[in-house]
């Protein structure tokens, strides 16, 4: 189990996370929703150990970060590094001696080509494949459905379900509510750095409705289009 207690994070004078309390159990999929800038990615980075923070994150692992797979919104690939080399690096970093990735290549990625030349969706698939090969316990997927086609979307959904069945913990953020409602057990709504609502499957429809009711109001009238 992972318990987040009073997690706070500021950048200079700006407080991004204002005291988050959450807990995550193995075998559950958690959705994190919120507008841009609500603090979703900062929360993910803090859990992954990529950001320093105030508060506490407790887990049964001595060092949680060594058991976390983090799929970034826009995975970064080094220039002139092949897909195979990227996977090799991820495995080597976790002391996993793996060389043959063809069997795990669910997405039929051209692993012998430069990853920088992959499409947005292919890059995301490669990064996701890497996190799975690392045999992690916690999977943090930041906008995994962005930029992938409908077919890959379905595969990712199935992968998430498989991770859940394997008793892994999965955290997902997405702007596409349907993708979250298909996979998540619990969804947390974050607004301005705070968890304002947590709903289980029974409350998904209401949360979806609530999020759709957001109205830009008269602000749009001020936009001049020339």
């Amino acid at each position: 189990m992972i318990a987040i207690r009073n997690l706070r994070k500021s950048y200079g004078g700006k407080t991004v996370l204002k005291g988050i309390d959450l807990s995550f159990e193995p075998g559950f999929v958690y959705g994190i929703v919120g507008q841009n800038g609500a603090g979703k990615t900062t929360l993910f980075k803090a859990v992954a150990g990529l950001e320093e923070f105030e508060g506490a994150i407790e887990s049964s692992h001595e060092l949680l970060k060594n058991h976390v797979g983090f799929l970034e919104t826009n995975p970064i690939f080094l220039s002139r590094m092949t897909g195979w080399e990227y996977l090799k690096l991820l495995c080597a970093a976790r002391n996993i001696k793996e060389d043959n990735f063809e069997e795990e290549n669910l997405f039929d990625l051209p692993l012998d080509e430069y990853a920088e030349n992959y499409s947005t969706g292919m890059k995301k698939k490669l990064a996701l494949m890497g996190t799975i090969l690392q045999r992690n316990e916690l999977f943090i997927l930041d906008e995994p459905f962005n930029g992938v086609d409908i077919y890959s979307n379905l595969i990712i959904t199935k992968i998430v379900r498989k991770l859940k069945a394997a008793n892994k913990t999965v955290l997902i953020s997405s702007h596409i509510f349907s993708t979250l409602s298909d996979t998540c057990d619990i969804i947390h709504l974050i607004e301005e750095g705070k968890v304002v609502k947590s709903v289980d499957r029974d409350g998904f429809a209401d949360l979806d409705q609530e999020m759709r009711s957001f109205d830009i109001g008269e602000k749009l009238d001020r936009l001049s289009i020339f």
């Binding site: 992954a48 150990g49 990529l50 320093e52 060092l63 970060k65 060594n66 983090f70 970034e72 970064i76 080094l78 220039s79 002139r80 590094m81 092949t82 195979w84 080399e85 990227y86 090799k88 690096l89 991820l90 080597a92 970093a93 976790r94 002391n95 060389d99 012998d112 080509e113 430069y114 030349n117 690392q134």
Partner: protein, 305 residues
Amino acid sequence: MKYYFSLQFKRFLRWLADSGVPAFIALPFLIIAFLAASKWLFIQTAFSSWIYAIVAMFVLLPLSDQLRNAQLKMLFSNGQLWQLRIIENIILVAPFVAYLCFEQQFLPAAGLVPVAALLTRLPTNVRYAKVFPSPFRKFPFEFSVGFRKTAWVLGTAYLLMIPAILVVNYNLGVFALIMIFLTGMSYYLKPESQTYVWIYACSVQNFLLRKMATALICISILSLPMLLIMLMAFPDFRLITLAVQLLGYIFMISVVLAKYSAYPNEMSIPQGILYGVSLTFPLLFLLVIPLFYYKATRKLKPLLE
């Protein structure tokens, strides 16, 4: 276009500020360092004016970066873009031209301006679709990636060995060996994204040891054939050759530590100066290596432990 150049100047001043040196100190220092380095080169060899012109062209190459030019293309019309690119290339090359004129090397100075303008026409839409084979495939990522980018430099270094042996020019051979090490060191100049460090499940000490070991193994693969050739071709200079190789290993270790001592930022100007001075007086590495190691452990700890 005026705004573009003022913005570039502001970015340059911000870079100086991030490097930890106030602009009023850094700017005069950079000018003095440039003049001193230029003078030093002109003392060394009779071909210095041509080497100098080539160095100037290398300085311009980053401006032809594919991504950078694609972004500029989106912002400016075609005519504006070429005007802008020519102006920025000429601004960068101007100090070199001025110094060449000072040294009364008018021919290379005159040649440099049109070449700078022509370099703006370098094809920037190159996508390296064909994968260049790398012997370091199993050692991602610094050498596998770096080798592909600099294979031509490494090839040139090995080619230099032919005239070095044919005309029995030991200095040229040593220069080629140093070229191999400098190329290997260049793979560690740019810091990688933090996730590429974060993924490691090991202590900071272990991480640094792994990085240093990989650097030493890979640079050995690149340099040992040349070392053997040198030892056989110039038996009278065996000790000096072995000392150069050993010094190369020390430089490799130090560049790995220097990189992570500033991580996730690039090396600051004071660190760069300290490193540069140590390259000139290698004994200083006895002090600098422990210092960089200490700083690197502090910088990496939040990400790894």
